[in-house]
């Protein structure tokens, strides 16, 4: 699922270490005790809703924000006191931040120019970077004359041309339309691999994070909620929050019945079903059962061990249908199937116990 192939080129960075990073804005902590260890060549995605502190973390790593506590280390060296211009990282900004008064080649060459590199060398490296992002013919255009996708490519070229040990990306695809977003996603991953980059990528889009990253760090209100490979997060969300963020859209408030190891039986609205235990549950206590739409199986009415429901809405989504099924007592399930069902059909829903996760009700 996630691209696990490592870079073919030796990465310039050995390790990035973020230690106990804390950043407060007017007393409210935007990031609290953030810890992260990245080894060279990794693609790390910081994922979370807006306001979760992911961009603040990125800006602290870039040096654009000064952390209140904690340290940033590159290859074991503490770079926390360094201003951004002395860190030598590459960064792609959300709105690209291309210099409107400079043409494409001077935008891309900016980082080399300020390092005092010879003109001939700048010309060569800029040309190569533009080739890499497939913008060879547009060197003399100004940002205003480029499409959104082209601007994005210029921003990428500008970030990689200095061959930085670490590339930081702040929601780089959020301003593109869906088709372009997919295209650029591949492009970014391709550049990451072929150039042996180490990338820290901020996004609020779970699909983007899961498809791009070697490891995903899911943040919530300034702290790390769960970190791991995309597979881990996808299959074993540690909390209801993570599950919900990663596409567990069916939430059923339940009462905990018998607990046997990791298997737990729960009851809700007169249904009884079995799920997989997540976290600490107490028999007789309240919990939330959750399952992805695509794990809900829609079968013929009357099947044993299933919940009876009626199809309420059916939406064609390309490779199948998304159904909303009413199970009575106001409980609705969203299911994804390839079978065609009509609105009003009576069906049965099977919830596979290994896919139905039961979390303690959140107090937060």
């Amino acid at each position: 699922m996630s691209p696990s192939s490592r870079a073919t080129v030796t990465p310039k960075l050995k390790s990035l270490r973020v230690r106990e990073l804390t950043k407060r804005f007017a007393d409210a902590a935007a990031v609290r005790g953030f810890d992260l260890e990245v080894s060279g060549g990794e693609f790390i995605s910081l994922l979370g809703p807006s306001g979760c502190g992911k961009t603040t973390t990125l800006n602290c790593v870039a040096g654009l924000l000064e952390p209140d506590e904690g340290a940033i280390e590159i290859d074991g060296r503490d770079i926390t006191p360094f201003p951004p211009e002395r860190r030598g990282f590459g960064m792609v900004f959300q709105n690209y931040a291309l210099f409107p008064h400079l043409d494409v080649s001077r935008n891309v060459g900016f980082g080399l120019e300020v390092r005092g590199i010879a003109h001939s060398e700048i010309g060569r490296r800029v040309a190569r970077a533009l080739e890499l992002v497939q913008l060879g013919g547009l060197a003399k255009r100004y940002p205003a004359q480029l499409s959104g996708g082209q601007q994005q490519r210029v921003a990428l070229a500008r970030a990689i041309v200095t061959e930085p040990p670490l590339i930081l990306m702040d929601e780089p695809l959020s301003n593109l339309d869906a088709k372009l977003r997919l295209e650029m996603r591949l492009e970014i991953r391709r550049l990451h691999q072929s150039l042996g980059l180490t990338t820290l990528y901020v996004t609020h889009d779970q699909e983007e994070a899961l498809s791009l990253a070697d490891r995903v760090v899911l943040m919530r209100e300034g702290v790390v909620e769960q970190a791991g490979t995309p597979e881990e997060l996808y299959a074993q969300p540690r909390s209801l929050y993570v599950a919900n963020f990663l596409g567990y859209r069916n939430l059923v408030p339940v009462e905990v019945g018998e607990i046997r190891g990791d298997t737990v039986s729960v009851a809700a609205n007169g249904f009884l079903f079995t799920g997989t235990r997540r976290g600490t549950l107490a028999e007789g206590g309240a919990a939330v059962a959750t399952i992805r739409p695509k794990d809900v199986q829609v079968v013929a009415a009357g099947s044993p061990g299933c919940i009876a429901a009626a199809i309420e809405l059916a939406e064609f989504v390309g490779d199948g249908f998304e159904l909303s099924a009413d199970a009575g007592s106001g409980q609705r399930f969203i299911a994804r199937t390839t079978d065609r069902w009509a609105v009003g059909d009576h069906v049965a829903l099977r919830l596979p116990p290994e896919r139905l996760l039961v979390f303690p009700s959140e107090v937060r």
């Binding site: 230690r19 952390p67 209140d68 506590e69 006191p81």
Partner: protein, 282 residues
């Protein structure tokens, strides 16, 4: 490896030289402008002020003298009438023009824009002298109407320039929605646009009033005995030193100053200071 978590005052310790420069500049400004204003006020209330750091004594007789000598009530009435009329006519004519410039494209738009910018780019004297000559022929010279007409020349472009960007940032879909809901264009203008534009229009009105109050040249060239505004009266008073005691001139200045500053305070409640000057775009 154990790295203790520590507070980092590293770069924060750096002195913000820029901020120091800002405060130094503000200090100079406050000293000079404040010094000017305070000396004017003190002198206006002084019995006399020879050589000392402070006046020799205080009195209000210069103000009482100003009321009779300068016919201050008449000047104040004329000033209020003229500035308000300039603002009212300027808005009445300028608001629809700003709207059209913000929303429509038409063939001579560029010409119209330049035409509306020129009066702000030329010194008032340049067109003021021929305008005053023309007003004489129409027997408007020296009347309040003549002064209003002359002041409209820079006031109208100011209104248009201030309000065009304001109309531009009102979502055109609001107008479309109103049209689809059955409102006629005129109703859209009066019921949707004018309420939405009210803050901008108010700001423009205040800026025009403040500027008309201080604009000297045009009023100077066109005003007569019963259409003299405060600023022109102040100029005449100061232009003839020796004839009047400085305290009396300063009393006049205090009246003018107080009027301006009250208006400025009112304006600053609604207007961002950077909008007090015209920003030319395009």
């Amino acid at each position: 490896m154990s790295v203790a978590v520590r507070r980092l005052p590293v770069r924060r310790g750096e002195i913000d030289r820029g901020a120091i420069f800002v405060y130094a500049a503000v200090a100079v400004l406050v000293l000079v402008v404040g010094g000017i204003l305070v000396s004017v006020v003190l002198d206006a209330f002084a019995t006399s002020w020879f050589g000392g750091w402070l006046p020799d004594g205080f009195t209000d007789r210069w103000f009482r003298a100003a009321i009779t000598d300068f016919d201050l009530p008449q000047i104040l009435v004329a000033t209020a009438f003229i500035t308000l009329a300039v603002a009212a006519i300027g808005l009445l004519v300028g608001v629809p023009a700003a709207y059209v410039l913000a929303r429509r494209r038409f063939r001579v738009k560029g010409v119209v824009q330049v035409l509306l910018l020129l009066p702000l780019l030329l010194p008032p004297i340049t067109y003021g002298i021929p305008l005053a000559t023309m007003l004489y022929e129409f027997r408007l010279a020296g009347t309040a109407a003549g002064v209003i007409v002359a002041n409209l020349v820079p006031a109208l472009p100011l209104v248009v320039l201030l309000l065009t960007p304001f109309f531009e940032q009102i979502d055109p879909n609001l107008e479309r929605a109103a049209r689809v809901l059955g409102a006629s264009p005129l109703r859209v203008f009066t019921r949707v646009l004018v309420p939405l534009a009210a803050p901008g229009v108010l700001a423009a009105a205040l800026i025009v009033i403040v500027r008309a109050l201080a604009l000297f040249e045009l009023t100077f060239l066109t005003s007569g005995a019963d259409s003299t505004t405060l600023v022109v009266a102040l100029y005449y008073a100061a232009f003839a030193p020796g004839i009047r005691p400085s305290q009396q001139i300063d009393a006049m200045a205090v009246v003018y100053m107080a009027t301006s500053l009250v208006l400025l305070l009112a304006a600053l409640r609604f207007v961002n200071p950077t909008n007090m000057v015209v920003r030319v775009r395009r």
